[in-house]
């Protein structure tokens, strides 16, 4: 349930504001469940041992718990100024989520952005969830959820590429980018384009730490299509043993490339999806070159009850011994407009050095097959 503050209340809150804020909304979600997982690991290190089964109260069965503030001011002529501050927190212990520096959390790790919208589209500047992730969610029946989805598959190739899981600065693609400028076009007959450029701000290195991405989407006639291109420089500079070993210096190294094509079709109560992704390090393709394939099938029994399933396959193009297959099945039942309960089960068959997780934030050991079950509740406000 969104909580809208009136202009008067907004004025009281921001007493120094000269112009009335058209609207400010406080919103958020708390998502908590019970997780059982048959194996576990304490890190994503390549030789992390299996530390045994886990029973835990777990944040984020659907998506992470989060909260935010957003506002819009109408400046006339069809133009609006928008802001958004949004961050995750762990509902089981109250901690804030990861930033792009290991060991440092951020209050607003999902969005800290200001921008303008108008007939030309939307431009936002700051830290934000990047368009490629929304494109993947739109073309996955499991909607890039935290439990067994295109998100955990994409994170799986990141883990295989050396992501330690301790910051949001990933080696392949990105969920969040800091310093980002994102343009979103209006829709033309269902087609739209998103462009991102993030200057790195590195002294003496114009390419240092930069990101650029493009997403082409189509959404009409019950069909979502998405094509993604993402490229980054100096990404994932933190070694697995950071801070014992220091971060790699930013030199403008082009080391993060991700392509993705996906489709999702909805007919009656059914939805079906499929996708292909390719992630590689252009500076080191002999070590980092991975493919991901997905398929999904869902059925909505009623407006309050649905079941979704997905299959996710990861492959190391440099070593056929490293591959991973995951299946996930979930049921969601809405108790009200703002509260839903869920039950989900997943199984992952990891081979070689693969350590694809079933749920975000609960690592498994490389090459170990694992089953996980979670039941939980998700309440939005």
């Amino acid at each position: 349930m969104k909580l809208k503050l009136s202009s008067a209340a907004a004025l009281a809150l921001f007493a120094s504001a000269v112009h009335a804020q058209s609207s400010v909304t406080l919103y958020g979600t708390i998502d908590t469940g019970l997780l059982y997982q048959s194996t576990s690991a304490s890190t994503f290190l390549p030789k992390a041992p299996n530390t045994g089964s886990v029973f835990a109260l777990k944040d984020g069965g659907i998506y992470a718990s989060n909260w935010g503030l957003k506002g819009t001011e109408d400046i006339g002529g069809g133009y609006k100024v928008n802001f958004k501050l949004q961050g995750v927190f762990n509902s089981t212990n109250g901690k804030f989520g990861l930033s792009d520096t290991p060991g440092v959390t951020a209050m607003f790790n999902q969005y800290a952005a200001v921008g303008v919208s108008g007939p030309f589209g939307t431009v936002d500047a700051g830290r934000q969830i990047v368009p490629m992730i929304y494109a993947m969610a739109d073309t996955d029946v499991r909607s890039a959820q935290y439990f067994g989805s295109i998100l955990t598959a994409w994170l799986g190739i990141n883990q295989a590429a050396g992501w330690p899981g301790t910051s949001t600065n990933a080696p392949i693609g990105a969920l969040y980018d800091s310093n980002a400028l994102v343009y979103q076009s209006p829709k033309f007959y269902g087609a739209s384009l998103a462009l991102e450029y993030a200057p790195g701000g590195v002294g003496g290195q114009i390419q240092g730490g930069t990101r650029e991405s493009a997403v082409l989407k189509y959404s009409n006639y019950g069909l979502n299509l998405a094509a993604v291109y993402y490229n980054g420089h100096d990404t994932n500079p933190f070694p697995l043993t950071y801070p014992t070993a220091g971060a790699a210096p930013a030199t403008g190294l082009n080391n993060n490339r991700f392509y993705y094509l996906g489709a999702l079709y909805t007919i009656g109560g059914f939805s079906v999806s499929a996708s292909y992704g390719l992630g590689r390090n252009p500076a080191n393709t002999n070590h980092v070159d991975f493919e991901m394939l997905s398929g999904g099938l869902g059925y909505k029994f009623s407006s309050v009850f649905k079941v979704t399933s997905g299959f996710y396959y990861l492959k190391d193009r440099n070593n056929s011994a490293n591959h991973s297959s995951e299946v996930a099945l979930g049921a969601e039942y809405s108790l009200s407009k703002t509260t839903l309960t869920y039950a989900q089960v997943g199984y992952v068959d990891n081979r070689g050095t693969m350590n694809q997780t079933i749920i975000y934030g609960s690592p498994v050991a490389p090459g170990v097959s694992t089953t996980a079950v979670m039941v939980g509740i998700r309440h939005s406000f």
Binding site: M1, K2, L3, L5, A9, A12, L13, A15, T25, L26, Y27, G28, T29, Y63, A64, S65, N66, G68, K70, K84, Q86, V88, Q110, Y111, I129, I133, Y134, A137, D138, S143, A144, P186, K187, Y189, G190, Y218, S219, N220, Y221, G222, L223, N224, L225, L264, T266, I267, G268, G269, S271, K300, S302, S303, V304, S334, S336, K337, T338, S380, F381
Partner: protein, 130 residues
């Protein structure tokens, strides 16, 4: 500082009030007869019986999607439209509760639509975004 504290209390009260009202689920499937806006369409196309046949069903489906996609804030890619002899069934999801009734209204306004069965529900944006 006092002002902010006062606001906090009123916000808290508002949250309680809002929570109490939040239980009514309006997403339940409902069969909606063509309303006033659809009535003129019925007169226009419905002097004779509604068009039938697979070709007519496909054409009507396309017209409904074309009408929905005029509204840029609605993603017609997540909406299923099935037409059968003028009877249209909507299914799938929208991102905002207000869009459930809006899509039904748009559909009712399409010439040739005689009735609308609305099974749309809300799927919020990914990652808890608004």
């Amino acid at each position: 500082m006092k002002k902010i504290k006062g606001l906090g209390v009123s916000v808290g009260a508002f949250v309680v009030a809002v929570s109490a009202n939040a239980w009514a689920q309006n997403g339940a499937a409902s069969s909606v007869p063509a309303s006033a806006s659809g009535a003129s369409a019925m007169v226009a196309s419905g002097a004779a019986a509604p068009e039938t046949g697979r070709k007519a069903n496909r054409a009507l489906r396309r017209r409904v999607y074309a009408a929905i996609s005029q509204h840029r804030e609605i993603s017609a890619g997540n909406i299923s439209v099935v037409a059968r002899d003028g009877a249209v069934t909507l299914n799938g999801t929208v991102t905002d509760a207000t869009q459930i009734d809006k899509v039904a209204e748009i559909t009712k306004g399409v010439p040739g639509v005689t009735s609308v069965t609305n099974k749309l529900s809300v799927q919020r944006r990914p990652f808890g975004s608004q």
